[in-house]
Amino acid sequence: MIVRISGEGQFRLPDEDADRLNELDNRAVSAVEQGDETGFHELWSQMLEIVASDGNRLGDDELLESDVIMPPRDVSFHEAKGEFTGDGLIPDS
């Protein structure tokens, strides 16, 4: 799967990571809904950690669409309220 961190670029991740990311994504949505800022930032850094540890940066000459677009690394809790709603970043199938 291809993941973009907004403002940073695209990363290629093993497809198995989709489930882990999706679970964190859904939990992040609940945290945002409950106004749990600390909880959200904790989950958010776990999501970033997965991309950092498993992801390989796409070359600038690869023109591909992302499967998931993550907000900027320094996303504020206020901004997160617009992103982490419903299914979150990753649609639940």
Binding site: R4, S6, G7, E62, I69
Partner: protein, 252 residues
């Protein structure tokens, strides 16, 4: 593709797809797409230039304040040496205010610098992608049938479209931040033009609005401490050089 960045890239993508659907000759669309990309790249460059201008303006303001801090400190010392505690206090109050503004300006300049760097880096990346698109489009024109070309180029165009949308979002964030800083910078300028950072040789005899404002800023404790330290260091009322100019504290 959910999320704000996703929505933005969808907008760009649908525009490109529409153009592709309408076109009878894919190679025309390819050239159109490429020219559109170059056009958007120009906007990005302009956006970066705006950030640089804002940063320079804040930097100039910060340099000016820094000079004021040094000047007010010198004047406070001179006032202490001449036993003019009232003038020293006024100078230190102004210095404290200037220092507070200076710190906040410096933080903002650093933030803008970071944003500028990442925008420049992303602009470079986008330029490479557009260049790749140009190469790909020539290959597609030469090698593929019209139908195949549609599919191939949609992929590539969407890839570039997403990159652009993302950079657009980063620009938007930078602009919002610069907007906030501009407001802050104007506030500092207003204080400046009201005389809040003027040196004490410009002070009139009585309390003016600025003095009352300064007194309300709660700079009191810090000013007291600093004044005490200065007195201890200089020994109050010793022989010292007179105030630089407009010296109203000099004994007649």
């Amino acid at each position: 593709m959910p999320g704000l960045a996703g929505r933005m890239s969808t907008v760009i993508k649908s525009k490109i797809s529409k153009a592709l659907d309408r076109a009878e000759d894919p190679s025309e669309t390819l050239d159109y797409g490429y020219n559109k990309q170059l056009e958007l790249l120009q906007n990005v460059k302009k956006g970066i230039a705006d950030v640089v201008t804002s940063k320079k303006r804040l930097q100039m303001q910060s340099d000016k304040l820094e000079q004021q801090v040094v000047k007010l400190d010198t004047q406070a010392r001179q006032a202490v040496s001449q036993g003019r505690e009232d003038l020293a206090r006024a100078a230190l109050e102004r210095k404290t205010l200037a220092q507070t503004e200076l710190q906040s300006l410096d933080t903002q300049v650093r933030e803008l610098e970071g944003q500028q760097e990442s925008l420049i880096e992303n602009e470079k990346k986008l330029r490479t992608k557009i260049e790749t698109f140009r190469t790909k489009k020539e290959v597609i024109k030469a090698q593929y049938s019209a139908a195949e070309a549609q599919v191939k180029i949609s992929e590539a165009a969407n890839g570039v479209g997403e990159e652009m949308a993302d950079l657009g979002l980063a620009m938007q964030r930078a602009e919002d931040k610069t907007e906030q800083m501009r407001a802050r910078a104007s506030a500092v300028e207003e204080l400046e033009s009201a005389g809040a950072f003027d040196d004490i040789t410009q002070l009139g005899a009585g309390q003016d609005d600025i003095d009352r404002e300064l007194a309300q800023l709660g700079a009191g404790a810090q000013v007291d401490d600093e004044l005490a330290a200065m007195k201890a260091e200089l020994g109050s009322g010793g022989d010292a050089p007179a105030l630089e100019k407009g010296d109203e504290g000099k004994p007649a």
